[in-house]
């Protein structure tokens, strides 16, 4: 199993100009590696719909990579999204399922199917052709450049250690910039950033 540092640090180095969407247990940790205006915290948002939001951005901006760091509990809530992403042929969509087998934010209760659910198999059944599974830091770090190159949609399952992130809010008290403002304000800010950077895409 990887630590969150082992998961996020290589990703932050290799993300380039990709959009990165976070949720749940990696929301705050990601902000210690990146302060990009192309980061989006799907916090104080719709439960389980982080991957859908990311897919929408990917469809809007087909020339820009969109990396979604989804929780395993969140993924279970909207498994149909796996089918939708393949059907939509989102070649710039890179969906990471961070599997720690718990609902970390609410006190580490086990998710349904903890220790049994196979997200790679679910993705294969949905039609994903590029699927990766990692449970050690070395193979993850070595393979990440390959994961992030080429056409998607890509699904990468990464097994990480259970953490202890508490409930996430949006307020000035949060240390992360992307949690200090409302979802509406950050959404407008990201929209401006994308439209400025990709005016013809």
């Amino acid at each position: 199993m990887l630590t969150k540092h082992e998961l996020l640090e290589p990703l932050a180095r290799l993300r380039g100009n990709a959009v990165v969407i976070t949720c749940m247990g990696v929301t705050r940790p990601w902000a210690s590696y990146s302060e990009s205006e192309l980061d989006f915290a799907s916090a104080d948002s719709a439960m389980g719909h982080t991957a859908d939001l990311a897919l929408g951005i990917a469809l809007a901006r087909p020339q820009r990579k969109v990396i979604c760091l989804n929780g395993d509990g969140s993924m279970l809530m909207t498994l149909g999204t796996l089918v939708t992403a393949v059907q939509a042929a989102a070649k710039n969509f890179f969906l990471f399922v961070i599997q720690n087998d718990i609902y970390e934010i609410t006190g580490n209760q086990p998710i349904p199917g903890a220790g049994q659910v196979d997200f790679a198999a679910l993705a294969r059944g949905a039609g994903f052709s590029r699927i990766y599974s990692f449970d050690d830091a070395n193979s993850y770090a070595t393979s990440l450049p390959e994961v992030l190159s080429g056409a998607g949609p890509v699904l990468a399952v990464v097994k990480v250690e259970p953490g202890s992130e508490g409930p996430i809010s949006r307020s000035e008290r949060e240390a992360s910039n992307y949690l200090k403002v409302s979802l509406a304000d950050w959404g407008r800010r990201m929209r401006r950033a994308l439209n400025t950077r990709d005016p013809t895409n």
Binding site: F40, H49, L53, A60
Partner: protein
């Protein structure tokens, strides 16, 4: 009843780039037109909740999405709608087909303002989806208007204008099957 062709033309007049949704009998004709349209991309989803979050992402990405779902699918989308479209103030126009509307009209005359109760909601001659549609939209903060026939199609453009001005979503309830 409204022609799907006119609705599609109105969507194009408002520079819609994507329609996200799930078909029902009322919207089948419009879905059929969209499936081969060259200007607007149809994004089919497995459940309606996906549609609103995808629409929010498309809007962040600078596109002009429309969500097209049945009222039952809108109920399913509650947290998705609240947590993305409402919280992000996405100026989204939603086309919601109104299952059960015809029976509802007769019941309103009969009920004369009587509150909904379990007996009414379980009546076989009424559709509970229709009974709770408008109350649900009001409770969830989604202003709405009606699209009954061809002459109402221009309301789509009015809703786009209102949504943009107020930075909030608007819905058009489509009360009859499209032709």
């Amino acid at each position: 009843m409204a022609q799907a062709r006119l609705i599609l033309e109105e969507l194009k007049r408002n520079h819609v780039t994507h329609v996200i949704g799930l078909p029902d009998n009322s919207s089948a004709m419009l879905f059929s037109l969209l499936s081969t349209d060259q200007d607007i991309r149809l994004v089919s989803v497995t459940r309606e909740g996906e549609a609103f979050a995808i629409a929010a992402g498309l809007w962040i990405g600078g596109k002009v999405p429309v969500v097209l779902v049945q009222n039952t699918g809108f109920f399913e989308s509650g947290d998705s709608f609240r947590g993305t479209i409402t919280r992000m103030r996405v100026p989204l126009v939603c086309l919601i087909t109104y299952r059960g509307y015809a029976k509802l009209v007769g019941w309103r005359l009969e009920a004369r303002g009587k509150a909904l109760d379990a007996e009414t909601l379980s009546r076989a001659d009424l559709d509970s989806a229709a009974l709770i549609t408008e109350a649900t939209l009001k409770a969830w903060g989604l202003p709405f208007d009606f699209l009954h026939a061809d002459e109402d199609v221009a309301r789509i453009s009015e809703d786009f204008w209102k949504a943009k001005e107020s930075e909030e979503p608007f819905a058009l309830l489509i009360t009859q099957d499209m032709t």
